[in-house]
């Protein structure tokens, strides 16, 4: 009965369209035109019943829109994230209704917390079936509300041009984020008189960036100029705002040591003399300890995540805090600021640079150097130059640096390998460190690397993944096979869910509860997808294998067997202050 109604409806709509004039387009065509108008060239997606009209229209747009067929919608959205992160453009993802849409949820949450601009299009059942528990119907709008910057359900094709324009504007403006547009099947089919596409540049209730207040800039500059031990901590905001140059100018003029959150990595090169390293739980020794010693803390485009601050009531209590952020909700959310510099850091940083004195803070820098030396002696030297038989994760990254010279895009998953890679990878360029920061999504790296490569085809993209995380989304090897995209994959296999094991070792009396994970033959798995691979466990074979991987035309999977029970240090144990960071 229901099927009959639908068939009838499609028939009527189709009949109408035959009679209609040429200026009429279907909702699906209007959507694809809108994407082209927004400069979209790549879509990651997976078809299904409720999005079939869009895929039917896509058949005729094949020359202008490159659709990448993924193997799972989660893979699709992570690819969209990787694409957005390397290209700086909005990632576009297609999925069908019901399970297709719910499979996007992890990626949406990841993009929301990491401020990644995405526009996701989901198909939905016919409008007249909404709320009837129709086949593959799920309440996508309500499911995704907490994990989207904005979402909207389209039930009438005439809404499509305006809604898509709004979607792109919202996704990329201000603090970026994911937007989901749910389009009912009838709206995809419906023909309407199309009057062209107008980009959105304004929504009356939405202020993407707060107005810059000169008095705060002035107050901030005064604080900085009077500071004896100022310290800059920066986050992804610098990259999202394309303010790398402005940031570099500010750092270089003020001469202030600067440390990064993991999503901020690469905004200025790793070897920049004022770059003192990484913040947070597994960050560098000096940046963590000296956070509690600085007199003025200048936070730029970062949100004081608990992995960065450690115990909040013992975090930088001695310091006056200057917080630059585009999102007013971040000011005073976790750390009370002395001077809030609201605004886009691309605008605020040059204003601040103009007012700060040129200094070099030599004695203060020496302090960072002392801590760096201590950390090198206690941790880094043995991690990068182990004398044991077994390989360490750190030496793999070190060897890789020698081949990439710091020019590659490094995509990491979540866990020990992620921390090691972020700590030791050399990044010369911005948009080079693609990882799941806020949500900590295992399974992120492989699909994100595929997207990252599509977003930066001229660059080498290397996915570094643990043996656990790889098995969460390894179906995307199929996407690599089918598209022929060139992604280098390094699996750092310690035969454990390493980070959880590390915590169990340190805090749960070595009670290794369900962290002992068995893996398939990864090289054989890659071979099944016609991707060449190699497995190494001897130090002598490592450089050659990495070279072979980098020189291989096309994708390559390199599995490296590393020490089973190695720990990532330094470490700020949960509930401890950043000054209580442990070297062992």
């Amino acid at each position: 009965m229901e099927t009959q109604t639908i068939t009838q409806e499609i028939g009527e709509i189709a009949e109408k369209s035959v009679k209609s004039q040429k200026t009429e387009v279907s909702g699906s065509e209007a959507l694809l035109d809108a994407l082209i108008a927004e400069g979209v060239d790549t879509i990651f997606g997976y078809p299904g019943g409720a999005i079939m009209p869009i895929y039917d229209a896509l058949f005729d747009y094949n020359d202008r829109l490159n659709h990448i067929l993924v193997r799972h919608e989660q893979g699709g959205i992570h690819a969209g994230q990787g694409y957005a992160r390397t290209s700086g453009k909005v990632g576009v993802v297609f999925a069908t209704s019901g399970p297709g849409a719910t499979n996007l949820v992890t990626g949406l949450a990841d993009a929301q917390i990491d401020s990644t601009p995405l526009v996701c299009i989901t198909g939905q059942v016919f409008a007249h079936l909404l709320g009837t528990d129709a086949f593959q119907e799920t309440d996508v709008i309500n499911i995704t509300t907490p994990v989207t910057k904005w979402n909207y359900q389209v039930t009438d094709a005439t809404e499509i041009p305006e809604v898509i324009a709004k979607a792109f504007y919202i996704a990329k403006s201000g603090r970026p984020g994911p937007v989901l547009i749910d389009i009912t099947k009838n709206a995809q089919i419906q023909k309407f008189s199309y009057e062209g596409y107008i980009k959105c540049d304004h929504i009356r209730s939405y202020r993407p960036k707060p107005i810059v207040r000169p008095q705060y800039i002035k107050e901030a500059a005064e604080l900085i100029n009077s500071a004896k031990k100022p310290f800059i901590i920066w986050g992804q905001g610098v990259i999202l705002g394309s303010a790398e140059q402005e940031f570099k100018a500010f750092v270089e003029k003020s001469g202030i040591p600067a440390a990064w959150t993991i999503l901020g990595a690469g905004a200025i090169p790793t070897d920049h003399p004022l770059n003192v390293g990484m913040l947070g739980m597994h960050g560098n020794y000096g940046p963590n300890v000296l956070t509690n010693e600085c007199d003025v803390l200048i936070a730029i485009g970062m949100r004081f995540d608990d992995r960065v601050t450690g115990r909040l009531d013992k975090y930088a209590k001695q310091a006056k805090v200057i917080h630059l952020d585009i999102d007013p909700a971040e000011i005073d959310k976790n750390v009370k600021s002395t001077v809030p510099v609201w605004g886009d850091c691309k605008e605020t940083l040059p204003l601040l640079t103009a007012l700060v004195d040129k200094k070099d803070h030599t004695a203060w820098h020496d302090k960072f150097d002392d801590f760096a030396q201590k950390e090198y002696d206690a941790v880094i030297h043995t991690e990068l130059n182990p004398t044991s038989d077994e390989l360490t994760m750190g030496e793999v990254i070190k060897q890789l640096n020698e081949l990439t010279k710091g020019d590659a895009v490094i995509v990491t998953d979540v866990g020990q390998h992620q921390m090691v890679a972020c700590r030791y990878a050399i990044l010369n360029k911005t948009r080079s460190n693609i990882t799941s920061g806020g949500l900590g999504t295992m399974g992120f790296a492989l699909p994100a690397a595929i997207g990252a490569k599509f977003g930066a085809q001229e660059r080498d993209v290397i996915a570094i993944i643990g043996d656990g995380g790889f098995q969460m989304t390894c179906q995307e090897l199929g996407t690599i096979m089918q598209t022929g995209i060139d992604v280098k994959i390094i699996i750092l296999n310690n035969r454990f869910l390493g980070m959880v094991r590390q915590w169990q070792e340190l805090f749960n009396a070595r009670r290794y509860s369900f962290v002992d994970i068995e893996s398939p033959d990864f090289v054989a798995l890659a071979a099944a997808y016609r991707i060449p691979g190699k497995c190494v466990s001897d130090r002598a074979d490592l450089p050659g294998a990495l070279k072979e991987m980098m020189e291989n035309k096309g994708s390559f999977l390199l599995e490296v067997m590393v020490t089973k029970e190695n720990n990532v240090f330094p470490m700020v144990p949960q509930g401890c202050s950043v000054a209580e960071i442990r070297l062992k």
């Binding site: 309500n142 304004h202 202020r207 107005i211 705060y216 005073d332």
Partner: protein, 199 residues
């Protein structure tokens, strides 16, 4: 210094009239396991703009953060918060009682006068009274009518208007006039003078 004491706050939210926005606002509270004591939403004096009045019991620090999260939503125009001292607020209550009983046993005129109530409906079988006021006032009439067989009672959410003479009307009007690209909204950190939180 900010008030860290938990007390009732009246949150006023001006929004677009959009499906799903109520949920988007509600989950900002539920995500943090904060109970909404009272919620009223209705069209404002300006067409297409809706006004929410939300009452919660929290410290000022929490309330300010919540307001910023609400204001961050794309379809929210403006958010303000006030303590009970800063607002004039009322709740409306309706009481249904048996006409026979009430006519026989009570001096209706006196009851109405003493409680600032009025008769909304007078039928053979029942009478509906209405009163507006603070919670204690509407509660008081319940206890008075209870002995006479209160059949049904209902109370509205709270509506509140700020004492600050400038009010919101002129501010919200600015949104109506707003041309694309024109920036008219202040982003003061905390306007202590006017005791109004704005961004």
């Amino acid at each position: 210094m900010e008030n860290q004491e938990r007390q009732e706050y009246n949150i006023t939210v001006y929004t677009e009239n959009q499906i799903g926005l109520l949920n988007r606002i509600a989950i900002i509270f539920t995500r943090r396991k904060i109970n909404i004591d009272s919620l009223n939403t209705s069209p404002s004096e300006i067409e297409s703009i809706h006004r929410f009045n939300i009452v919660i019991t929290e410290s000022e620090d929490v309330v300010r953060k919540l307001c910023r999260q609400i204001e961050k939503q794309v379809e929210v125009l403006k958010v303000y918060y006030h303590t009970n001292e800063d607002v004039i607020w009322q709740e409306l209550a309706l009481y249904k009682v048996s006409t026979d009983v009430i006519a026989e046993k009570v001096s209706v005129e006196r009851l109405l006068r003493e409680n600032g109530a009025r008769v909304v409906v007078l039928r053979k079988d029942y009478t509906v009274f209405e009163t507006t006021g603070h919670r204690e006032e509407t509660d008081n009439l319940i206890s008075i009518l209870q002995p006479y067989g209160l059949i049904e009672f209902v109370r509205s959410a709270r509506v509140a208007i700020i004492k600050d003479s400038e009010g919101f009307n002129s501010k919200i009007r600015e949104f109506e006039r707003l041309e694309p690209g024109e920036e008219v909204i202040e982003n003061e950190y905390l306007n202590q003078g006017a005791k109004v939180f704005t961004m």
